[in-house]
Structures are given as C-alpha cells and as structure tokens.
Symmetry: C2
Subunit: 452 residues, 2 copies
C-alpha cells in the first residue's frame, strides 16, 4: 500500500479543505483511508474544530478509536465540541439513509456518551444524529447520564459512584455493570446496593442485564422496557458496549407519541403533533384532506364498477337497495380484522413472519362471520323480498366477509414487512378497498344466480 | 336517642346473625346506628371473624376509626383477616354500584394500607373491593407497600426507614411525607435524601406532592402519573390522607391495557384480553360477531331509505352509481373526526365541557373538507356525466362531510359525558350512522335539484 509520508500530510490538508466545502464525503473517505492512525491524528491537528469533526466522523469505527486515543486531551475536547456543533450534526443528521449506512460507522462506545453528556434533551436529539444510528432508532433517544459500575467494584465503591453522580445522572436507581471494554455484563439496582454488605463485590449481587441495540426502533425498545418494567434499559452498540440508557419516563413518552400516531393513522388522519385545541382549523383540515382525497379517488372505483354493471342494475333495481348494507358490512369486517392485527403487531404479539398464519386465521374468522350473517341476511331477504335475491345476499355476505377479514388482517402485516407503519393501512383505506372488490363480487354473484 | 344498654348488646348479636345470613345490609346499618363506639366494639367481640368484618365494614368512616382504636390488637388483626377473606371481599366487591355508594363509606386511611399489605397483586385486586372505591378506580389498583416519612424527621431517620423497608416496599425511590393525621404534605426522593446532610429536616427538602384521589379512574390516574413522569403517585382518600401509591410500572400497565381496549373498540371489536395467537378462532369470532350484527341491523336502515326513494332510483339509475362513493366519503370524514376527538379525550386535551367548542370546530372542518371535495367532485361529475348530477353530487358532499365531521366529533364527547368509554362510538358505528343519514340527504337534494 502506498502510505504517504508525514510530510505529505500538509498536502492532504490542502486537498481535503475543498472536499469538505463541497461535502464530497466519499472523496474524503478515500483520501484518508491510506493514512495510519498517527497520520490521521496529525492531519486532524491542522484542521478547524468543525472540519476536524467532519473528517473524524468519516473514519471507520476501529480506526476512530485508535485515532481518538492518540489525540491530546485538548484535541479530544475540540473534537467533541465539533461533533456537538449544530452545523456539523445537521450535516450528518440529514444524510440520505443509504449514504448513512456506508459512510457512518458507529461511533466508538467510549465516545457516544461523552458526545451527548451535559446536553439538554433537545440538543441531545439534535446531536444524536452524529452517532450513526438511523432516524427513529433508540440510539437517537437514549440518555448518556447514567452511573455505571464494574463487577470487581465493592458495594461501597459503587455507592460512592452513585453519590458522586446524584446531581447529574438521569437515574441513579439502576446501574449497568460494565467489564473492562465497556460491555454490559449485568445490572444492579440502588436498592440492591443498599441492602448489601459494603465489602461485597458487585459480581456477587448483579443480575443478568436485559439490553437493547441502539439500532432498534425507539418504539420497540420502549415497549421492551415497559414490558419488563425496567426503570432504565441499557442501550448497547453492535459489540454489546454501553452507549446510553433509556429511562422509563422517556419510554412512556415514546409509546404515548407512537400510540397517538397509530390511532390517528388508523382513522385516516395525519397525526396532529399537538393538542386538539392548539391546532388551528386549517391544520385540522390539512391533516385530513389528503387522505380523504386519496380515498375519494379510490372510491371512484366503486362508480366505475357500478357503471360496468349498469345494465344489471337497470334490470333489477332491487339490487341497488342492498349495496350500502353489503359494502358497509364488508368494511366493518375488514376494520375489525385490521384493528386487531395492527394492535397485536404494536404489542409484539404478532411478528411479520406470522403472515401466513394470520391469513389462515382471518380467513377462518371471516368465513364464520360471513356464514352466520349470510344465513340470517339471506333468509330475511328471501322472506321480505324475493327468494333468489335472498340467495344472492347470503352468498355475497359469505364471500365479502371472508375477503374483508383476510385483506384487513394481511394488509398491516404487509406494511410491517415493508417497514411501513402498519397503521397507514387505515380503516378507511381498507373500507374503500373492500367496497370496490365487494361490489364486483356482488354483481358477479347476482348475474350468476339471477342468470342475467 | 334511644341508646341500648351494654347488657342489650347480647340481644343485638342474636338479631344481627340472621341479617348477615340474609345479606340484609340495610337492616344491619339501622341496628348498629344507635350504638356507641364502645358498644359496637363489644358487639364485634362476640361475632365470628367473617361476621365481624361484615358488620365493621358497614360502619360510617368516623365511627369505624373510633371503633378500630377501641379494639384489642388481636381483634384488629382478626378484623383485617376477616376483611381479606375472599368470601367477605367478594360480597362487597359484587355490591350494586348504587348500594355501594351509600352503604360503604371509605375505610379509614389507617386501615386501607394495612388491609392490602403483604398480599400478592392478584389477591390485592380481589381484596381492594372491600375498600369502598368503585370498579375501575385507582383505589382498586394502588399498592400499600410504600415507605413514608414525616416533615419533622431528619434525613437520617428517613434513610433508616428506607433501609428498614428495602425488602418489602414496592418502591423506595419516592417517599410520601405525611403529617400526624396521615395527610400527604409533600414528597421526597431517595436521591434527595442521599444528597442532603443527615441532620436536615425533611420539611426543608421535601417537594410539593402531586396526589390523586382513590376515587379517580385508574386510567386518568395512570395518565397523570406518566405525564408527570412520577415513579410513584400518592393516592389519597377524601380527606387527603394517604391510602396507597401507584407505581409507574403499574401505571404503564394500566395505560397499555386501556389503549388496547380503546383501539379494539374503535375498530368495533370487543377487546380480546389476551394475545392474538393465544385467542382461539371461536373467541375471535365472538369478539366481532355482536358488533357486526348490531351494525348490520343498523345498516338495514340504508335498505329502507333506498326503498323509500326507489321511484327516484328507477327514474335516474345514474344516482345509484354514486351511492358507495358518497357514503364512503361521509364515513371516512366521520371516522377522522371521531379518531381525533377520542384520542384527545384519552390524553385529556379535550374535556367533556368543551362539547360545544368541538361541535363548532368540527362543523367548520367538515364544511371546509366538503366544500373542497364537493367543488372538485361536482365539477368532474358534471363533465363526465351530466351538469345537474354534478350539482347534486357537489351539494351532497358539502352536506354529508359537514354532518359526518360534526357527528363524528360529538359522539365521543357525548359518550364521555354519559361516563361511557368514548371508543364505543366506534368508527364502524359512526360509518353506519352516517351512511343512513347521508343517503336521505342525497336523495332529498337529488329530488330538489332534478325536480322529480
């Protein structure tokens, strides 16, 4: 490999400045790749705080750690300042998700908490974009203000650390236990510490730690934390090293937000993002008009279906009377299935791999519902109107309910598999879909039975 | 007043036994009312543990406290045993809500935690029926395993109490501060205690306590606790005396359960009460069939409306083509409004007293949506079909959207005012309601415009 001489570092500095200006990150990565950690360190020394942060952030993880250990304390602190700078963090936060994946390796676990340390919750959210964890991940929501301890510490030493951090830690009630390389090997509660003899080793009283990867979605991490009833969930990087904690009140806030969004989407409304009365009427209209419009366009399908069968309708006007009842029942059945499956997905009761199982179950449920309603509805129609119309109604209810429950159950699963919020296949969406297909089924059955 | 002599207590015992057998609680209240606390105490001494508990529980609160103080420690413990007995607690838990209100005064705050103390969560839920707090109230869900302190205690004394309860308390991280009569006068965290000099008085470092009445619904109390991010919310009786705490993990569990229920009801499904795959298909069908059936019966209204206008339909078959589109759009608009308002009610952003404000807002939103869609839909229909049909469609969309948004917004408010879960006015329910009324509006407008 063609390793540049230290004297050449000055030339690279000159080359790199315009690349930073033009945000040509790929070229920077290429230019820095052949340098040894020592050379990178001496390169960084010649850059301004912001440029230093940008170049450093583009290093692969292992190299980043080696370089960091070679920086002077002053440079280390400059680097943290640079990474915290709002312009720098905005650059990395706004990176295209695909670019992010291959440009931004994880920051070393030793740096992540330092980077977020001492920031307000708002600044933390901004700065967390630098960490390399994707949008919506728990890595963007975690707190660095924890107190950790080591397996070899005594209870007295751990309590001393707690006392030391009483003022600044987010919580002092749960302590992750870290080995020499920051890997989480257990967890110990303040209560455990207070209950134990002060000379005992932490390794003797710690519990197994339940941790979560910083790459996991904030919603899933929050659900895990509240399901386990943990006051603080340790968040780890790819190698199991501690990078932050998720406290239970943050977890609750994340879930409340997600549930408000889910509920809105299921009703076919864009989430408002603020309280109802604080939302101007214009914004309420805006949160609904797009979906309403999309659904109305979808609903023009029903006009087309009926246009297609207009001859049938003119021959037997009676058929028109039952259209709202049939498509309404189909819509309701679809909504029921979608509601149940969407919630089960949110709670983790159903996984994307269960697609086929869900399909079969919902087909069974839909058929049972359809058979019950169809028998009853068909009989009543036969008595009140005409026997043959009764057969049409009965058969249509069986078909429409089976179809609707299956579609309603499967749509949220497909959304989840495509990594889209299952709630976007909202109840109105499913109703509209079922309306059009239900009408086709209805008229086909009518034509066959009535032989028109 | 005709006060019986102590010698007569023996007679009352004889009278009371059959009243207990026949559960004639009103007569027991009347028989015991004239007795002094001393006489009640001596009456109780002659009863079996279970009977003693039943008679005691029927005393008014003030008297109950006076009697309790006159009982020997052995009798006090018998009384607690009796109140914890599953037969006794079942009697009071199953009481008709109206009877409960006037028969069961609150238990004195000194007794409530003692009653629940040491029970498992399951037994606690059972026994809490004895407390006099209504079903679904936080009084039924609170925990008695707290550590409290007094304003006059020193930090060292409070820490000693914490140390004493490390093994049994539900949480030791938040301590309610009580005055001499158990009123909550503040709250102090373990972290505050650890940060303070040990000779300081609790009154110097305690914070103002946010408390909640035991009568408040568990959902509202849980929402308050998570909104405030409290690890433990003190629960108080009518006089502000501490009867228990709600810990944040219990609060989270309550909210998760409520949200699952709300989500199910909004989709027109009875809540399953267990994970999706743990629910047999039969139970899934059962959770949906009743609502589907009710809605289908509601939907027969649409058949009747269309029967009524059959002549109009036969004259202009074209009108039938637009029925699914129009009622679908109405249903969607109604669902959007209902979803937004139901969630705002659950979060406490909207209060029942805002009914009229919500009505006006939703009317405004619905009109705006209808005007936009109506202008567009009317124009397209006029171009593609017939100008006069275009006018009908346009006007109907304005009317139906205004109606649907208003109904969708107001229904959950009315439900809440009637103390019914707002989510029972589910999206399918609102769709069905709007379907029928929307059809009437459509045909009336069509008749007027087309002059048929």
């Amino acid at each position: 490999m063609n390793t540049p001489q230290t004297t050449e570092v000055a030339n690279i500095v000159a080359d790199i400045q315009p690349l930073i200006q033009s945000k040509n990150f790929v070229a920077i990565v290429d230019a820095v790749a052949p340098l040894t950690p020592e050379q990178v360190a001496s390169l960084l020394e010649r850059l301004s705080v912001n440029h230093l942060a940008i170049v450093y952030r583009l290093l692969p993880k292992e190299k980043a750690l080696e370089v960091f250990e070679r920086l002077t304390p002053k440079m280390q602190s400059d680097l943290i300042d640079g990474l915290q700078d709002s312009e720098v963090s905005a650059i990395f936060a706004d990176l295209d998700p695909d670019d992010r994946v291959w440009l931004l390796d994880e920051l070393p676990a030793a740096l992540a908490p330092r980077l977020l340390h001492g920031l307000s919750a708002k600044d933390r959210e901004l700065t967390s974009g630098v960490l390399g964890y994707p949008k919506g991940s728990v890595g963007r929501r975690m707190s660095p203000e924890y107190v950790s301890t080591h397996p070899g510490h005594t209870v007295a030493q751990a309590l001393e650390r707690v006392n030391h951090h009483l003022a600044d830690a987010e919580t002092v009630y749960t302590l992750p236990v870290l080995d020499g390389s920051r890997r989480v090997v257990g967890v110990v509660s303040l209560r455990d510490l207070m209950r134990s003899e002060s000379h005992l080793k932490i390794s003797e009283l710690m519990h197994q730690a339940k941790t979560t990867s910083a790459y996991q979605s904030a919603e899933e991490a929050a659900r895990r934390s509240t399901n386990l009833g943990l006051l603080a969930l340790p968040i780890v990087d790819k190698e199991g090293r501690l990078v932050g904690i998720l406290t239970i009140d943050d977890a609750v806030r994340i879930l409340e937000h997600e549930e408000t969004e889910d509920s809105a989407r299921q009703g076919g409304v864009e989430p408002l993002g603020r309280p109802y009365f604080a939302t101007p009427i214009r914004a309420l209209v805006k949160s609904r008009i797009v979906w309403l419009f999309v659904l109305a366009i979808g609903a023009t399908l029903t006009v087309q279906v009926q246009s297609h069968f207009e001859a049938t309708l003119e021959q037997v006007t009676l058929l028109a009377l039952f259209v709202p009842l049939l498509i309404g029942t189909g819509g309701n059945t679809g909504n029921q299935a979608a509601t149940t499956v969407t919630r089960a997905l949110a709670l983790g009761d159903v996984q994307p791999r269960d697609l086929f199982k869900v399909l079969l179950r919902e087909l069974g449920v839909g058929f049972s519902l359809g058979a019950t309603l169809g028998a009853l509805g068909g009989l009543l129609t036969a008595l009140l109107y005409e026997p043959r119309i009764g057969i049409v109604i009965g058969l249509t209810l069986v078909a429409v309910c089976s179809l609707a429950a299956t579609v309603g159950g499967v749509m949220p699963m497909i959304a989840r598999a495509l990594r889209v919020d299952p709630a976007v296949f909202s109840n109105p969406f499913i109703s509209t879909f079922v309306d059009a297909t239900g009408l086709i089924v209805y008229f086909l059955i009518a034509r066959a039975v009535l032989q028109i």
